[in-house]
C-alpha cells in the first residue's frame, strides 16, 4: 500500500516537468514528414503477416515501408557520407542484412519487424570492386596482380571463408567496361567480344560471345546474370541461362527487370515513361518474348510528374482468374517512389526528392476575390498602383453594386452549401487565400532532382509539382560541391492585377530562366534564354513598371544586363554596388552599376578588389536578410545612456579557412563593406574546423565551428556598436562618412552538441526579440534566445538590469526544443520568414525530414491565446448588462413607492 502511494506520488511529480509546449498543442501548428531518400536497393516481403518493403537509399537510410500505404514502419539512419553508403541489401527470413561503407565495410543485420540491430561486423576492404551475396556468403571481389580475387565471409558472423578464389583476369577490362550481375562478371573486350565468367565457384570457365558494345550495365536485382549492352543507342539484353548466353533485343528507353516465376521461368518486366504523366508497362516471358497481356498497361495521371522509371523490385503471383499479376516498386529519376500494381494502378506514391531540397521560398497567397474587389475599390493607391481604377462617380457606383452582388452570391453559396467554386482570378482552390495574419503561405522548394514543389504550409500537402526535364542543369556551389538553384521571387502576391512570379536560374549552353507562377506551379512564360553566361544575379531595390523586381545579371565579362530587359523601372534606383566572390581563386570584386530608369544601357565599373591567396579559401559569405528590419537603433546601458548599434546594411561577413602548420587550420572572419571594399574588422580563430555555420543579423554575427584543441563546438559571438554618439541619424552611407571603426564586442560560448544548421528568427518589424534556431545532430531543434549568446553578458557582477552573467556553456533545456519528440535527422537547412503578425515567425526545416512550425520569440503578445475563454467573457458581459437593467428598474420602482408613502 505504502509503496503504491510512493509510486503514485513519484508519477505525479513527473507530470508538470515540461512547460515548453502543452500536449494538446502538439501538431497544432507544426507538421513533420518523414522521408527515406532516393531508393538504391529494395526488396518486397509479401509474407502475409508482415507485408512490407525494405529499402536502402542514397541517403544511407535503411527502412521498412508498409506495402499497402507506403508509410514508414521503421527507419535506421547509417553514417553520413561514403562511410555509410549502402552497397548491398540482402533479405533473409527474419533479418535485413545491409553492407555499407567504402574502405571499411560494415555488415549489419536488422530485425524485419522493428528495425533493431541484431549483429554487426566489419572488415577492411580497400580495393573492393564488387560485393555480392551467394549461399549465405558475402563475396568481396577485388583485382590484384592481374588476377580477380574473391574473398568470402560468412554473412552473419563475419568469419572468413576457406580460401580466396582467384581467377585469371586477362579479359578484365576495367570496372567501367564490366558489370556484375548475380555472381557473374561480364566484360566487354576492346576487340568486340563479350566475356562472362562466374565468380561463385573456383572455376575458370567463361562464356564468350561476339558482341560490340559501348556500355554494359547489369540489370539490378536480377536472379540470373543479365546485362544490358548498349551499342550506338541500340540496347540488347544479354542473359545467361543453363550455361548459355542468350541475347534478346530490347526496346530502347525502357527499363528492364527480370523476375523468376516458378523456378525455371523468367518474366521480363519493362517500364517506361514516354511522357511525364504516363507510365507504360510491358510483361513478357524472357525466353520466347511472348507478351503477357495482363502485365501490359498504360496509365496516365495528370498529377503525376515522373521521368525514367525503373523497377527496383517486384513480386508476381497468379490471380484467381488464372492471370499473372505483379506488384513492382518503381523508383524514378526524379527520385519519387511508387508501388505499381500490374495490371491496375499506382497504389501509392512518395516524393523522396524532398530529401534533397536546395532552395526554399515562402510565397504569400493572393487575397480572396471579395477582398480583391474591396481592395480595388477602396485600396490605397500606393500599394495598388497597378490596377486601373477609374474615379468617375458612375463607374464607382457600378463597381460597388458589382462587388455587393458578388458578396451576396458567395453568401448564398455558403448558406446553401454549394461546393466552393474555383476562384476566377487565381484559378486555385478557394481555400488558398491569404488569411488575416499572413500565416498561410506556399512553400516553394527546389530539389536537386530537378523537381519543384509547392507545399501548403499549414498541413504539408503537396499542392503542385513541376519537373524540369531537359531545360538545363543546376549551378554548382563551388564551396561544397552541391547543386545550387538561385531563385528570386520577382513579384509577390500584393499586386492584384499581376500574378506572383518566381524565377529560377538554370544553366545550359545559354543560361536559362524558368518562370513559375508559385500559387499553382504553372509556368506561364515558360523558359527564357539569354545569350550570355550569368555569373551573378542581384535583385534591384526598385520595381519596374510591371511590378517586377528586375534582376541585374552579370555576365562572364562582368558587364551588367537587366532582366527582364527593356522594361522601364518605376523610379530611379539608388546607387547600386555588386560584389562577386570567387571561391576557386579567392578573388573578391566590387562593382558599381549605373542603372538608368529606362532600363537600357547599363554600365558597371570595378571599384574595389580583394584577393585571398591560396591556400586560403573563402568558405562562407554572410549577409543580412534583405527583409530584415531593425527596430531599435541602440542599446540602453545601466546609466541610461545609449550604446548605438552599428548597422551597416552593406556589410558582409566573409569566412576564410586556411591550413596552418602549427594550428592545423585557421578560420578568419572578415567584415567587409561591400560598397567601399573596406575591411571593417577581422578576427582569427585557430584550430577551427568544419562544421562551420555563420549567422549575420542586425548588428551581430554568430560563427559556430568545431574547436580541434578543446574538441567541442564553439559559437563565437560578435556585436558591433557605434559608441555613445549617433553619427548620422537620418541616413547611412558607406562612402564619404566618418571612417571611425565600430566598437566590436566579442565572446565565445560552448555548445554541448554538434550543429547541423543555424538560423535566426525574423519578424516583420523587428520589434520582437531574436532567437536562434539550431538543429543539432541529435535531432533536436533548439530555440536559443539571442540574450544567451550576447557578447555583452557580464563577466563579473551584472551591471545591466536583466543581464545574464557570463557562463560559457549554453543551456539546452528540453522546453526550448521546439520539435519536442519529433527528431529531425540530417538537417540541411532552416528557413525562417516573417508572418503578418509581429510576434510570429514561420520556420521550415528541411533535410531527411521536413518540419514546419511557427515560433513566437517574445510570446504571442499581439493575439489572444487560443485557449482564451470567449464564452466566459460573453456570459459575464451579458449578465452584467442584464443585471444593470434589472437593478435600474427595481430602483426606479422603489423610488416610486417611496414617493407615494
Amino acid at each position: 500500500m505504502v509503496s503504491k502511494l510512493i509510486y503514485a506520488a513519484l508519477l505525479s511529480s513527473f507530470l508538470f516537468t515540461v512547460n515548453g509546449l502543452y500536449e494538446d498543442q502538439a501538431g497544432k501548428f507544426d507538421w513533420k514528414q518523414d522521408y527515406v531518400g532516393e531508393v538504391k536497393f529494395s526488396s518486397i516481403d509479401v509474407d502475409v503477416t508482415t507485408k512490407r518493403l525494405y529499402v536502402a537509399t542514397e541517403k544511407n537510410v535503411v527502412a521498412s515501408l508498409a506495402i499497402d500505404t507506403g508509410d514508414i514502419i521503421w527507419r535506421q539512419i547509417l553514417e553520413k557520407g561514403p562511410e555509410g553508403s549502402v552497397e548491398l541489401i540482402h533479405p533473409t527470413k527474419s533479418k535485413i542484412i545491409t553492407v555499407s561503407g567504402v574502405d571499411v565495410i560494415k555488415v549489419r543485420g536488422w530485425d524485419v519487424k522493428d528495425g533493431y540491430l541484431h549483429f554487426e561486423w566489419s572488415t577492411e576492404s580497400s580495393y573492393a570492386l564488387y560485393l555480392f551475396v551467394f549461399n549465405g556468403l558475402l563475396h568481396n571481389v577485388y583485382y590484384s596482380n592481374n588476377l580477380i580475387a574473391v574473398d568470402t565471409y560468412h554473412l552473419e558472423t563475419g568469419v572468413k571463408g576457406k580460401a580466396t578464389y582467384t581467377f585469371p583476369a586477362h579479359w578484365f577490362s576495367g570496372s567501367d567496361r564490366c558489370a556484375l550481375s548475380s555472381g557473374s562478371l561480364a566484360c566487354l573486350d576492346v576487340d568486340g567480344k563479350l566475356n562472362i565468367g562466374s565468380l561463385i565457384k573456383s572455376n575458370t570457365d567463361r562464356l564468350g560471345l561476339d558482341m560490340i558494345g559501348d556500355k554494359i550495365e547489369a540489370i539490378p536485382g536480377s536472379p540470373i546474370p543479365a546485362f544490358i549492352v548498349t551499342n550506338k543507342n541500340v540496347e540488347k539484353l544479354v542473359y545467361v541461362k543453363e550455361n548459355k548466353i542468350l541475347v534478346r533485343s530490347s526496346t530502347s528507353r525502357s527499363s528492364s527487370f527480370i523476375y523468376t516465376y516458378m523456378a525455371d521461368r523468367q518474366y521480363l518486366l519493362q517500364i517506361s515513361s514516354p511522357m511525364q504523366d504516363t507510365i507504360v508497362t510491358e510483361g513478357s516471358i524472357l525466353e520466347d518474348s511472348t507478351v503477357i497481356e495482363s502485365l501490359s498497361s498504360k496509365e496516365s495521371k495528370s498529377s503525376l510528374k515522373i521521368s525514367n522509371p525503373r523497377i527496383s523490385s517486384a513480386f508476381c503471383g497468379r490471380s484467381k482468374a488464372n492471370t499473372v499479376n505483379c506488384v513492382a516498386l518503381v523508383s524514378t529519376q526524379d527520385q519519387s517512389l511508387m508501388l505499381l500494381k500490374m495490371p491496375g494502378s499506382i497504389k501509392w506514391h512518395r516524393e523522396e526528392s524532398l530529401t534533397n531540397i536546395i532552395n526554399v521560398e515562402f510565397v504569400d497567397l493572393p487575397v480572396s476575390d471579395i477582398e480583391a474587389a474591396i481592395e480595388k475599390e477602396f485600396g490605397n493607391k500606393e500599394s495598388f498602383l497597378d490596377h486601373s481604377v477609374s474615379t468617375g462617380a458612375f463607374s464607382m457606383f457600378v463597381r460597388r453594386l458589382f462587388s455587393q452582388l458578388q458578396q451576396l452570391r458567395t453568401l448564398f453559396a455558403t448558406v446553401l452549401g454549394i461546393i466552393e467554386s474555383p476562384s476566377e482570378t487565381t484559378g486555385t482552390k478557394s481555400n488558398l487565400v491569404r488569411d488575416q495574419f499572413g500565416l498561410h503561405k506556399i512553400i516553394v522548394t527546389v530539389t536537386s532532382a530537378g523537381k519543384i514543389f509547392g507545399i501548403d504550409n499549414l498541413n504539408g500537402e503537396i499542392l503542385w509539382s513541376v519537373l524540369l526535364c531537359g531545360v538545363g542543369t543546376f549551378y554548382e556551389n563551388r564551396v561544397n560541391g552541391l547543386p545550387s538553384a538561385p531563385m528570386h521571387l520577382q513579384r509577390n502576391s500584393k499586386h492584384l492585377s499581376y500574378s506572383p512570379m518566381c524565377t529560377l536560374l538554370l544553366k545550359s549552353e545559354k543560361i536559362q530562366f524558368v518562370y513559375i507562377y508559385p500559387i499553382n506551379g504553372e509556368s506561364k512564360n515558360g523558359v527564357t534564354q539569354v545569350p550570355y553566361r550569368v555569373v551573378q544575379a542581384v535583385p534591384l531595390p526598385v520595381l519596374n513598371i510591371e511590378m517586377v523586381r528586375s534582376l541585374i545579371l552579370f555576365d562572364s565579362s562582368n558587364s551588367p544586363h537587366l532582366y527582364p530587359a527593356d522594361t522601364p523601372l518605376s523610379s530611379k534606383p539608388p546607387p547600386l554596388y555588386i560584389y562577386i566572390a570567387n571561391p576557386t581563386n579567392g578573388l573578391l570584386q566590387g562593382f558599381t552599376v549605373n542603372v538608368p530608369i529606362s532600363g537600357k544601357e547599363l554600365s558597371a565599373k570595378e571599384v574595389w578588389k580583394t584577393q585571398f591567396n591560396k591556400p586560403t579559401q573563402i568558405i562562407a559569405i554572410g549577409s543580412r536578410d534583405a527583409m530584415e528590419h531593425v527596430h531599435s537603433q541602440g542599446r540602453v546601458l545601466s546609466d541610461r545612456s545609449v550604446l548605438y548599434k552599428y548597422i551597416n546594411p552593406n556589410m558582409v561577413a566573409i569566412l576564410t579557412l586556411a591550413p596552418d602548420t602549427t594550428h592545423k587550420s585557421v578560420l578568419t572572419l572578415h567584415l567587409l563593406d561591400a560598397v567601399s571594399g573596406i575591411i571593417i574588422y577581422s578576427v582569427v580563430h585557430k584550430r577551427a574546423s568544419h562544421p562551420i555555420h555563420l549567422v549575420h543579423s542586425e548588428n551581430w554575427l554568430l560563427c559556430s565551428y568545431y574547436n580541434d584543441k578543446t574538441r567541442r563546438t564553439e559559437i563565437a559571438s560578435y556585436e558591433l556598436y557605434d559608441g555613445n554618439q549617433l553619427s548620422n541619424s537620418s541616413d547611412f552611407s558607406s562612402v564619404g562618412g566618418s571612417l571611425i571603426p565600430p566598437i566590436v564586442e566579442k565572446q565565445a560560448y560552448i555548445l554541448p552538441g554538434f550543429l547541423q544548421a543555424m538560423k535566426p528568427t525574423i519578424t516583420e518589424k523587428g520589434i520582437t526579440s531574436k532567437h536562434i534556431l539550431m538543429a543539432t545532430t541529435t535531432g533536436h531543434l533548439l530555440e536559443v534566445p539571442w540574450a544567451f549568446l550576447d557578447p555583452r553578458r557580464p563577466l563579473g557582477e551584472p551591471k545591466e538590469e536583466g543581464a545574464i552573467p557570463y557562463i560559457p556553456e549554453l543551456p539546452m533545456p528540453s522546453e526550448s526544443m521546439i520539435n519536442y519528440n519529433k527528431s529531425l535527422m540530417r538537417v540541411d537547412g532552416i528557413y525562417t520568414t516573417p508572418s503578418s503578425l509581429e510576434s510570429t515567425c514561420l520556420v521550415f526545416v528541411y533535410g531527411l525530414d521536413l518540419f514546419y512550425t511557427r515560433v513566437a520569440p517574445s510570446k504571442t503578445f499581439d493575439v489572444l491565446k487560443e485557449d482564451f475563454d470567449y464564452l466566459v467573457i460573453i456570459i459575464v458581459t451579458h449578465i452584467l448588462l442584464i443585471s444593470a437593467y434589472v437593478t435600474k428598474n427595481l430602483a426606479s420602482q422603489k423610488a416610486l413607492k417611496q414617493a407615494w408613502k
Binding site: 550569368v534 546607387p575 547600386l576 528590419h629 541602440g634 546594411p649 555613445n724 541616413d731
Partner: protein, 171 residues
C-alpha cells in the same frame, strides 16, 4: 418689582437679588462717557477684521510654502523605487499645485486689498516650488525623459544611401 424697589431706595443694595438676573440699569461710573466709548469700539472692530482678513489671506498665500517641509518628508519616506504608492504620491505632489495654480483666480476672488498682488505672487511661488520639488522627485526616480535612452524608440532606421548585393560567383 426690582425697579420699584430701586426707585424707592436710591442707595440701598439688594443682596437678595438673583445672581443670574442681569442689572440693566447699572449706573455708569463718573466720568464715563458712553458716546466716547462707543466711538472707540467701532474703530477697533473695523481694523481688527481687516487685520484678520489680511492674516487669513497671508495664511492662504503661504500655505503651499508651508507644505514644502511636509512634502520633503513624504518624498524622503516614499523612496526612489518605482511602485504604485510612490507613483501615487508623486502624482499627488504634481497634481495638487498644478490644480491650485489653475484655480488661482477663484481662490483669490474674495481677497482684496493692497497686499492681494503680493499674496497671489507668494501663492504662485509656493506652488511653483512644490512643482519643482515634485519634478525633482520624478528626476530622482528616473521618470523624466532626460536621457538619450528615453528618446531611442523615436529614432528611425537610417535610409540607405547605397544599395549592395552579390555573393558567390555562379558556375
Amino acid at each position: 418689582m426690582t425697579t420699584v424697589k430701586s426707585k424707592t431706595f436710591k442707595w440701598s443694595l439688594d443682596f437678595t437679588r438673583n445672581k443670574h438676573e442681569k442689572s440693566t440699569d447699572n449706573v455708569s461710573p463718573p466720568g464715563y462717557s458712553q458716546l466716547a466709548g462707543q466711538n472707540g469700539t467701532e474703530l477697533t472692530r473695523d481694523s481688527e477684521s481687516s487685520r484678520l482678513i489680511i492674516k487669513k489671506s497671508w495664511d492662504l498665500a503661504l500655505g503651499p510654502l508651508k507644505q514644502v517641509p511636509m512634502n520633503l518628508f513624504i518624498m524622503y519616506m516614499a523612496g526612489n523605487s518605482i511602485s504604485i504608492f510612490p507613483i501615487m504620491m508623486v502624482g499627488m505632489l504634481i497634481v495638487r499645485p498644478v490644480k491650485a495654480l489653475f484655480t488661482l483666480q477663484t481662490t483669490f476672488k474674495t481677497i482684496e486689498g493692497t497686499q492681494a498682488w503680493g499674496q497671489k505672487f507668494i501663492f504662485f511661488i509656493g506652488n511653483c516650488v512644490n512643482i519643482v520639488l515634485a519634478l525633482y522627485k520624478c528626476q530622482s526616480m528616473g521618470l523624466l525623459p532626460t536621457h538619450a535612452s528615453d528618446w531611442l524608440a523615436f529614432i528611425n532606421q537610417p535610409t540607405r544611401m547605397e544599395y549592395s548585393g552579390g555573393g558567390f560567383v555562379l558556375s
